[in-house]
């Protein structure tokens, strides 16, 4: 089981913070598979410079954002 002091809630004050949370969740998904922090630091430049990987990261963010948006009931009132 992953036990980390993050993600206390899916609720955010604004869409912008919701998007930032989606970015965090997408990075966490990579982190749970590759636990070696040093290795990930070394590799991030790799997928940050590969067009295909960058676009796929953007897709993961989109999926998490969809979840967060629903959790916040679209920040309607």
């Amino acid at each position: 089981m992953v036990q980390a002091p993050w993600l206390p809630s899916l609720i955010t004050a604004t869409p912008r913070e919701g998007f930032a949370l989606a970015v965090t969740l997408s990075q966490k998904g990579v982190a749970t598979t590759q636990l070696d922090v040093e290795f990930r630091r070394a590799q991030r430049p790799e997928y940050a410079e590969d067009a295909d990987s960058l676009v796929t990261v953007s897709h993961v963010i989109a999926t998490h954002f969809q979840t967060i948006v629903a959790a916040n009931d679209y920040w309607r009132e």
Copy 2:
């Protein structure tokens, strides 16, 4: 945390503007991973000329559009 003066709301007046917002979000997803603006400018032509990447970008837009469409309750009345 990403802090940017964008995305005040998911609400748009028309489906067309909703689609444009989906495009913006898909680009933002790339931007959060690759922060170097110069690098992205140099790279965009690369994935804009690769058939596979272009189709995947279109998929990311589709996912964000789905979110935005729901947020706007399909622009029904």
Copy 3:
């Protein structure tokens, strides 16, 4: 912002027209990234002849179709 005289509505009379709209949206997603019409015309045969890309295009259409189907409340009644 993309400003184009398309996509006045997500509502279509039939499932068939809804599917056609999903195809249009998937192509528009490619168009927003690659603005050069001549280039796209030249490239379309490329991904239209690559098995992997064809299948991925079909996935993008599936995602847009899901959105459109919900917008039309499944064309029930």
Copy 4:
């Protein structure tokens, strides 16, 4: 606009027929991009024999099936 005498409805009598419709929709998505029937016939063996493409086809079917299942309200009563 795609105009074909298919897809009169998303409603099917059973989950099994719903899955078959999802398969049809996934194939139609390929067909709208590659209009040359002869070419597609020649190519189908190609992606039917490539492990990666086969799995991606299965993903497209899964997305369409999700849509159809919702349209049929899960065939509950």
Copy 5:
């Protein structure tokens, strides 16, 4: 049309059985494209030993599981 004596219902008694059904559906999606059983038997070891394909299979299962979970109303009560 695919006609097979499988998938009588999307309802399962437990989440665990729901996950098993998602696995079955993902395999069926491959089967509808590649009808030659002998060929699939020969190929399965191939994508079962390729890291990329394994992860994509896992994604297809995730999509079907999402469908089945909704069909079973999350097995709440």
Copy 6:
């Protein structure tokens, strides 16, 4: 049919535990295809060191997380 003493429920106490369950489900999806535990152990370092596969694993987790979040009604009260 997969029969394993896991996944008694989709309900978790917190978002954090929900995310951990999503990670477990994504790994289970790989396990159902590649049953040889020794083989998977040997291969995991492979996709844990490949940027593309890591990002795709993160996408699978995102899809399962979406399911779990809905099952838990967003952990709203």
